[in-house]
Symmetry: C2
Subunit: 555 residues, 2 copies
């Protein structure tokens, strides 16, 4: 008996059956690996089976939207109960699949814009959520207990052998395709263009079964673009405190920034405020970060030595091509991003993660979950957690580890800096500090085993608000930690509930530091410090290489 | 001015200069990408520059040994002060590079057999150690602050376009090549064979600059093969305790095993002892693991659903090819391993790591560092650490998290099971339990910032010896933890120093469990329980598919 015929080759055999069905369904329409867009529904009907685990590529940037829409056109009598795997559930069709009874189970990482509808579908019973993950965790499970049977991915170009060019937006594709192709699964790629010769090969053709040229290029979202015109002076002040009180204090050389105006302000203050403090070459040298346009002035000023990216950013293509000393680019001049490697880099090779959140409780746990919305986590849990497997030292890591262990009888160990940066009130005067996270109630509603916490208090080292910095590493009891948090929570009820004497005592010990304690003159916290004041300023700083997407062209 | 000529393209320009030097040095000898083995020294002289960061591939399995040896033949007057990056420093030539003054700086993960010589060279000042890492951490730094300028890798075959076939031993190659190729570095691959058509493409040719057919196939070590004949009855007893007291107790479905006879015994007890306990389908279903021969009987018994591997194991090729439902294999029938993805899987998609160590202190910190030897860590820190970014629940993870937090006012969170399994005395009656780790003294000798701890006590959940299991999750004070450790430390001085009353109290509370507490009849702990009793038994269990390397063919 041939190995492939045996009882240990059911997946290979089943794969062969699927391919045979595709051949017989498409007949002469199947040109090697190339399938016409008009036949995509036939192909999926032939290739999919009920209950399949199907990975549909789509992160918060690149989306395999043509294939996602095709899924919604399947006949649920024929293909149903799919177990969908998605990094980001962000397009309406991602949920239509469940509404139409084609899919029934979901494992994912982030659901941003669809979080409300997701919660409703989950409650209606049409969709069973396996779990919410951080990206690298979801990829990891693709190699263990969530290996996709079929993967639907997106690329820029393919050749007729199925080689893929993903170019700057490589993102999640390598991890998804490798897990699927090497476990007898089937990879189908939508591409913007089929060509004779690719600019470079990002995914070998042998890993890909079918390619289809989609009628329109894949959808991509410029998620990391922030218009400097919208940065407030409060944010400038907070950025000054971050730079002087944390970046300089710990000599943070390798880092990741979250998305948002708070961190964009820091990026725009590097060539001005940080340079004036003499910090060039001493902080923020190496980044795991998407190519944020707000980083252009710091790059031009020579602050930034290298940037490895999860994905790219629309409009940054020519700028990146002209700055290969900084970015990871291929011989064709365009970037190679890779979310799996960049997340690993964010976890193990960065000394600091700094980002925003929606709610922080008295233990420092933070969450973006709010009632009626199952939003997920994205990359934050992976980067906003102490990497306990890390062993190489750096000044920042050693200092944070020392502070956490001072006066304790424990073996020395370093620690990652995890900074939560929030204004005490969010939009509509909702306090960022709460006694109890909404996540508790959401967990109950949605039947989750534990509340969906984005970053645990255990892992947070600093909380930065317009009122100051609370250094949780220096807290020596639950009570101190609570008062340190209250002590920067401003006029929120949590802030008003502080024990004033204890907070002053924490301030004397340097656990809490106000702008004035850091020697920062608040009057200097004006928008004049921003290295670019609007989109036009960013374009100018780039020497005209940066080409903002239309919606940001407001001049 | 062309972008490539600008001040932001120094790396690309420098790359071009190196390639031009190679062309002029080799002239007609350079046949496209193919270089003759006899010209390897000329090529390296042309391509390398003093101070380069050079990544030489070699893990504890596959070694780019031909390229490694070629490095030692360079003229140190011409090429010197190389900063060497190595996953595993295991061959003599790895250190010869430093002895000869060609290299001066080293970042690495593991140094097993060369640990003693490494310590001496470091002390002599000929070699400056940057840091010791866990594998995924070292790969991560390749994308941040340790990007290689030149990478020397090993593959099974190449075609004339530079496409590489790494086959079952893909290991570290994808991570190394991607980081180098996309940052204007140069990738040189030694291959066993240059062919017209590869069985499959593992690395696209566009990422590789030169290929050279080495005079002999690359060296590879069967590191994960353990002869069942050498498993003792003490190890059988410990394996029974592990299965009943931990695997069954926590319903551990996804896991990683370290190297060694202790865990080999567990693997061989799955189809016998564990099956008798009715655990088939309930434990040990999904693995991040090299294809251990000792796992064959459990696979044949249907215990194991999937295995994703860091690398392969010599002799397992045909067995793997015939079990594609279990292993990750390509269309050519051979495995695709990938250390980066498998380490990510071990970190984020496994509920348990279980492995051995050399020394454990009273806080549960463990280390393989001993005086005069700088051994490094390998993958253990990454897998033997709580993955704090993990968010998806499982029974095992939730239960461990609950136990750690019982009676504490803290938000619920899961936790990874990290089990250290040791006999109380190692070889030559050296106690495995010590008051103070040798790592402290080594750190002082070698000028390390902190002692080289392999797994921190904070992260260890269970210590298993022939005397019983100490569940550190249930300890509520430093003192309890110390007594729990002493309570399983047998007749070592640390064990003899126990507070007997406290230990009995911990036993009453289930913090310490002896074999009898688990309902294990020690008289049954015989070698009869092993599903295969020797190498021949493994071969038989595989239906003749497993072909042990010569040194293991003892029948």
């Amino acid at each position: 008996m041939n190995a492939v015929e045996g009882r240990w080759s059911t997946q290979q055999r089943n794969r062969g059956e699927r391919l045979a069905r595709a051949r017989s369904a498409l007949g002469a329409e199947l040109d090697g690996k190339v399938v016409q867009a008009t036949h995509i529904v036939e192909l999926l009907h032939a290739v999919l089976e009920p209950g399949d685990r199907v990975c549909l590529e789509g992160n918060n940037q690149k989306q395999a939207d043509f294939l996602g829409k095709a899924l919604t056109r399947l006949d649920p009598a024929q293909v149903n109960n799919l177990h969908m795997l998605l990094s980001v559930l962000s397009l309406p069709e991602h949920l239509d699949v469940f509404e139409k009874g084609i899919g029934s189970r979901l494992d994912f990482s982030f659901s941003g814009p669809q979080a409300g509808r997701l919660a409703k579908l989950a409650q209606s019973g049409k969709l069973n959520i396996g779990a919410i993950h951080t990206y690298l965790e979801l990829f990891s499970r693709y190699f263990v207990d969530l290996t996709p049977r079929v993967a639907l991915v997106a690329a820029e170009m393919a050749d007729r052998e199925g080689n893929l060019y993903t170019g700057p937006n490589t993102e999640d594709t390598p991890a998804i395709v490798e897990a699927t192709a090497f476990k007898s699964g089937i990879v189908i790629a939508q591409v913007n263009q089929i060509v004779d010769k690719l600019p470079r090969v990002d995914i070998p053709g042998g890993w890909v079964e079918y390619v289809v040229q989609s009628p329109a290029p894949y959808y991509i979202e410029p998620l990391f673009t922030r218009d400097p015109a919208l940065i407030s002076e409060i944010q400038v002040l907070m950025a000054m405190m971050a730079i002087k009180g944390i970046y300089a204090e710990y000599e943070v050389e390798r880092l990741n920034h979250g998305i948002g105006f708070d961190t964009a302000a820091i990026e725009l203050l590097l060539p001005t405020y940080a340079a004036d403090l003499g910090l060039k070459g001493k902080i923020a040298r190496h980044w795991a970060l998407n190519p944020h346009p707000a980083l252009i002035p710091a790059i031009e000023a020579g602050f930034v030595e290298s940037v490895h990216s999860f994905g790219s950013e629309l409009g940054m293509e020519n700028y990146i091509r002209a700055r290969p000393d900084v970015f990871f680019v291929g011989p064709d001049g365009s970037m190679r991003s890779n979310r799996a490697f960049s997340q690993a880099a964010g976890h193990y090779a960065c000394d600091m993660f700094i980002g925003s959140t929606l709610q922080i409780d008295l233990q420092g746990n933070s969450s973006t979950a709010t009632l009626g919305r199952i939003a997920g986590f994205g990359g934050a849990p992976n980067m906003g957690a102490d990497a306990r497997g890390r062993r190489h030292p750096s000044a920042a890591w050693l200092k944070a580890g020392r502070q956490a262990r001072e006066g304790r009888n424990t073996i020395p160990r370093g620690q990652k800096l995890v900074v939560q940066m929030v204004e005490t009130f969010r939009e509509h005067m909702a306090p960022a500090f709460v006694e109890k996270l909404d996540a508790w109630q959401l967990a109950e509603q949605a039947g989750m085993a534990i509340p969906p916490v984005m970053i645990y208090g255990d892992d947070v080292t600093h909380i930065l608000t317009e009122e100051g910095i609370a250094n949780l590493l220096l807290c020596r009891s639950e009570e101190e930690r609570e008062q340190a948090i209250r002590g920067v929570a401003g006029y929120t009820p949590v802030g008003m509930g502080r024990d004033k004497r204890m907070v002053e005592n924490l301030r004397d010990r340097g656990v809490i530091r106000r702008a004035e304690d850091l020697g920062i003159d608040k009057r200097l916290a004006t928008r004049d410090l921003l290295a670019a004041k609007n989109m036009k300023g960013l374009v100018r700083a780039s020497g005209g290489l940066y080409e903002p997407p239309k919606r940001f062209r407001n001049w």
